[in-house]
């Protein structure tokens, strides 16, 4: 509140000063509308702020003055010198109160009723044709309970009255003002741009100073040493000074929080107390801007997820009032911000289940995880433990965004949580982004800077200490009984071209921490730490995520600044970030979110590999060229006693040379089969299928990265249509069932596949992308005969949907079929427990169709 008050005082003093001038201008030119509007606005602002801060005396005076000004503004009252004088006296009264406020921190005692009455009379009196009497009249007519100063004023002449009225407020203010000498620390406002420019200049100066120091050190010219030392000193002080101008107390970022917490408490029916410590801890305004939103988000989270309802708290033997604590303090060139609550803590069990349900990890992996690692799941994208979606949180965008934002400014985030006792987050961020301390290293004959914030320790490899070992080409190091994954910087940056021979067995390992992950970066040499000025890299280099910027060293050379987060992501060390190395991801089962699909990779036409879900392919055949016959232009083959049409995958198909063989993917329905001719079958892999950019090429759904290669994903339905027009038309025996099917499936690929397939089998299909969307249909009263649902879906997954359906509503007794990509042991039981009537493997069309028939027939007849 004190800071708010200080800001208010600064602003109000400025406002009052301009008001004086503006009012005088108005007096000279009573028809000057813009000035009048400006005056009105100023007074209105003061009134509004006073009301907000609970300064009732100021508010009343300002309010009365505003009323009169309002009439001036809308023209119902003429601006007269006497009127102006009256307003001016009100301004003076305001000044007096403000001065008292400045000196003592609270509104001085005093009575403004006379002044207010005069203003009100002017306002009500309307016609101020004869200003003097109007102003004087109220004093007499109202027979005020006259305060002393006004009593003095009453006898005086009309014109003199208003100034006297101003004195009414003055006495109250004068003693305080006189006593404290008023002056708060003087401030001027400087545009941020000026400060930024200053900072840039100082950065340049620091660089030049470093350069000079290096030169002089090399030459040993003693005449320069002393002045240079002075220069160095002054530069450092200047740097500090300019940095200070950019510093703002972190309390500025917290200003809105009390209000947010109050609203939150009302909305959630909780009792929440917000405790803020260290609000005057200063940090760079650029950093401050960047952490404002994450902080707000985290406080909301604490209130929503962290704290329990009063009943729950009572039951747990805690005070009803939950507490959110914010604490900020400096620690070694960094600022630490703690956001804590005394709520329920992170529920380890829930997180485990959620992680399992979302496929973030396997049961075995979770069993081997420390509590800390489990808690860190909350930083994963899309992870939310809130069971219900409230307006506050639970939308699955949350801690991962916070984490990304904090890391963006070179910070780290940690958490400590005890179930039942509460959770505390620790955000560690650099004081400033402009100048950081960095370790200068060399690899592959190039020098790089590593920001100190990420560096845990330096280890010399070889020479008696720890040595670099290898597990199948992957370098590791045993450090104090921990196996430390290593990354060779020269390899990572492809600097190896010259000396592949010189192995990294000797060198240094920079042990680096990114989130909970610790890894080592192998470098050839370590030089020194240096204060560097971070400069952003040129736009054409931004895509290289390994670097967070570049800088100029003391010797004038440019070097790149490594980004440990980028390195961790690129090498797959951090399981939290998206793993970019697809091959590595494939090797680490279950490490990637999302479901995996068995895919058949093949080549046809061009060099781009093609993929199709293995489940859709009935058989793979390798037919002798001679067996392919032509009926008209349609290639056919006699296959299992029937004629099977063959469709070439590449647009132009030449009959293969006699003696060669043709690879064919066979797709089959109950009674029909169709062969797709491809050039070569490459592989079968299990991969996360993430189709991007549906290019409008017929026959393909889009592209996906599979095994690290861009792969076209086949649109089966399209190719099947190529085999003959009647393929997907309702078949004679499969007459229209008229049954309505609701399909909940988040993957566009499977929706694409299932909708035509089911339609072809005679069903009316409605497809939605999530469980939530499905439930929305229920609310709208849509009715179906059966529900088919995917298990893994965003927002509300299949199990959740089943439970919601069984809870009640018009769908309560509908049969439900679960579909999932991978069946783990116990999967069927889980589905049934949730309320599904049956389950099938995804892309097993036959099984799905027969289960559909079976599920529907008893219900119908």
């Amino acid at each position: 509140m004190d800071d708010l008050l200080a800001d208010f005082l600064t602003e109000t003093n400025e406002g009052l000063a301009t008001l004086d001038v503006a009012l005088l201008t108005l007096e000279k030119a009573p028809d000057d509308r813009p000035t009048l509007s400006e005056i009105f606005r100023s007074v209105h602002t003061i009134k509004g702020t006073c009301g907000f801060l609970g300064l009732s005396r100021l508010e009343k005076v300002a309010h009365a003055a505003e009323n009169v000004l309002g009439k001036y503004r809308d023209g119902s009252l003429k601006v007269t010198p006497a009127g102006i004088t009256l307003i001016l006296s009100a301004i003076d009264a305001l000044k007096g109160i403000v001065a008292g406020l400045e000196a003592t921190g609270s509104e001085p005692q005093g009575d403004d009723s006379a002044l207010i009455a005069a203003l009100d009379a002017a306002w009500r009196g309307g016609a101020v044709a004869a200003p003097e009497p109007v102003v004087v009249d109220p004093f007499e007519a109202l027979e005020l309970p006259v305060p002393e100063p006004v009593a003095e004023a009453t006898p005086c002449e009309a014109v003199a009255c208003p100034p006297a009225a101003s004195e009414a407020a003055a006495p109250a203010a004068t003693p305080a003002a006189g006593g404290a000498g008023v002056a708060p620390p003087q401030t001027i406002r400087v545009s941020v741009d000026v400060l930024e420019d200053l900072m840039t200049l100082v950065s340049e100066l620091v660089l030049t100073r470093n350069q000079l120091l290096q030169l002089v050190r090399a030459r040993g010219d003693s005449a320069l040493t002393v002045p240079l030392q002075r220069l160095s000193h002054i530069t450092s002080e200047l740097q500090e000074g300019v940095m200070k101008t950019r510093m703002q107390p972190i309390g500025n970022a917290w200003q809105k929080l009390p209000r947010i917490v109050r609203d939150l408490a009302n909305e959630l029916g909780k009792k929440i107390e917000l405790v803020m410590k260290g609000a005057d801890t200063e940090l760079d305004r650029q950093v401050l801007e960047l952490i404002k939103d994450p902080l707000t988000h985290m406080v909301r989270n604490s209130g929503d997820h962290g704290l329990e309802t009063p009943e729950q708290r009572r039951a747990a033997g805690k005070p009803e009032m939950g507490r959110i604590t914010l604490n900020a303090y400096h620690e070694g060139g960094h600022i630490i911000i703690e956001i804590g609550d005394d709520g329920r803590g992170l529920p380890a069990e829930k997180i485990k289940q959620k992680a399992l349900a979302q496929g973030l990890a396997t049961e075995a992996e979770i069993a081997g995880m420390s509590e800390r690692e489990i808690q860190h799941f909350i930083f994963r994208a899309g992870f939310s433990t809130a069971a219900a979606i409230t307006s506050v949180s639970g939308r699955g965008v949350g801690m991962d965004v916070v984490k990304t934002n904090v890391e963006k400014i070179g910070g780290t985030i940690e958490l400590r949580s005890v179930e039942g006792r509460g959770t505390t987050f620790f955000i560690k961020i650099p004081l400033t982004l402009a100048i950081v301390s960095a370790l200068i290293v060399e690899a592959g004959r190039e020098r790089f800077a590593i920001p100190q914030i990420g560096v845990v320790e330096l280890v010399r490899a070889g020479g008696g200490g720890s040595t670099i070992e290898r597990i199948d080409q992957t370098p590791v190091m045993r450090l104090r009984d921990r196996l430390l994954p290593l990354v060779s910087l020269s390899r990572l940056l492809k600097l190896d071209d010259v000396e592949e021979v010189r192995e990294e067995d000797a060198g240094f390992v920079v042990v680096t921490q990114v989130g909970p992950n610790v890894f080592g970066i192998i470098v050839d040499k370590v030089f020194d730490t240096e204060e560097i000025v971070v400069k952003p890299v040129a736009p054409i280099l931004r895509h290289v995520t390994m670097f967070s910027g570049n800088t100029i060293l003391g010797d004038g050379s440019v070097i790149m600044i490594l980004d440990p987060n980028g390195i961790a992501r690129a090498t797959g060390v951090g399981a939290d970030g998206p793993v970019e190395d697809a091959a590595r991801a494939a090797a680490r089962v279950g490490a990637r979110p999302g479901e995996r699909t068995a895919l058949l990779l093949f080549r046809a036409g061009d060099e781009t590999p093609k993929a199709v879900p293995l489940g859709l392919v009935a058989r793979l055949e390798d037919l002798p060229a001679a067996s392919i016959e032509l009926s008209g232009t349609q290639p056919l083959v006699q296959y299992r006693g029937k004629l099977m049409p063959l469709v070439p995958m590449s647009g132009h198909w030449m009959p293969p040379q006699p003696g060669t063989r043709q690879a064919v993917l066979v797709f089959s329905d109950q009674h029909r089969a169709m062969g797709l001719m491809v050039d070569a079958i490459l592989d079968v892999v299990e991969e996360h299928l993430d189709i991007e950019g549906s290019h409008d090429r017929p026959g393909f759904l889009g592209s996906a990265v599979i095994c690290g290669k861009v792969t076209d994903v086949m649109d089966c339905a399209w190719w099947l249509r190529q085999a003959g027009d009647d393929w997907f038309k309702p078949q004679p025996q499969g007459e229209k069932t008229g049954k309505r099917v609701l399909l909940a499936e988040d993957s566009a690929f499977f929706r694409h596949l299932l909708v035509p397939g089911l339609t072809a089998a005679g069903y009316e299909v409605t497809a939605v992308e999530t469980g939530t969307q499905a439930l929305r249909l229920r609310e709208q009263g849509a009715m179906f005969d059966i529900i088919i649902s995917d298990i893994e879906m965003p927002e509300l997954d299949g199990l959740g949907l089943a439970r919601a359906v069984r809870e009640g509503g018009i769908w309560q007794h509908l049969p439900m079929i679960a579909m999932s990509a991978h069946a783990e042991p116990g999967h069927s039981a889980r589905c049934r427990n949730a309320g599904f009537t049956g389950d099938v493997g995804k892309s097993d069309r036959e099984a799905l169709l027969s289960l559909l028939r079976d599920s529907l027939s008893p219900a119908v007849h």
């Binding site: 940056l493 736009p539 054409i540 280099l541 895509h543 290289v544 800088t551 004038g556 050379s557 440019v558």
Partner: protein
């Protein structure tokens, strides 16, 4: 230092030699050569000309990016024109390239050229379109062709040269 001296004497030095009938429509062009080909960039786009500089390699950068260099405390990204134009690398032993520093979007870039010539005014009407047979890499970055004595000068479009990746 030497480079800047050169730059400052080159720029005004050439002006007296220019045709006295200063054509209002003439564009002042700095000529440079890349693998023997005469090219030009508008002199107004040029911020500096530097002799050979220590260039720091930027790992994982596009091949056209030769690295970064320090121009009085500002970091300049060096683009190797030979590589940008798909030409063979500078033969070993040839003199170090010159940096023609240009600015785009507040960022400085250096165009590494084999040599820098002079500043000449080229009348706008002398600019002919690209010959249709011009190699596509050149066509992409060329604004047109000027006849310069018995040689042809390709006007480079700085923005398009910097459109990498």
């Amino acid at each position: 230092m030497q480079s800047e001296a050169r730059a400052s004497c080159t720029l005004p030095g050439t002006l007296p030699g220019a045709p006295t009938v200063a054509d209002a429509a003439a564009e002042m062009v700095l000529t440079l050569t890349v693998a023997g080909q005469l090219c030009g960039v508008p002199v107004l786009a040029v911020r500096d000309i530097l002799a050979s500089q220590a260039i720091t390699r930027v790992p994982l950068a596009p091949p056209e990016v030769a690295g970064s260099l320090n121009l009085r405390g500002r970091i300049v990204t060096a683009i190797d024109l030979r590589r940008r134009l798909g030409l063979p690398n500078r033969p070993a032993g040839s003199p170090p390239p010159m940096s023609v520093v240009v600015e785009q979007g507040g960022e400085l870039y250096s165009l590494l050229s084999d040599s820098v010539g002079e500043v000449v005014p080229l009348p706008a009407e002398g600019l002919a379109g690209n010959p249709p047979t011009l190699d596509s890499v050149w066509r992409e970055v060329s604004r047109g062709v000027h006849r310069q004595g018995d040689r042809l000068l390709i006007m480079l479009d700085v923005d398009r040269i910097l459109a990498i990746g």
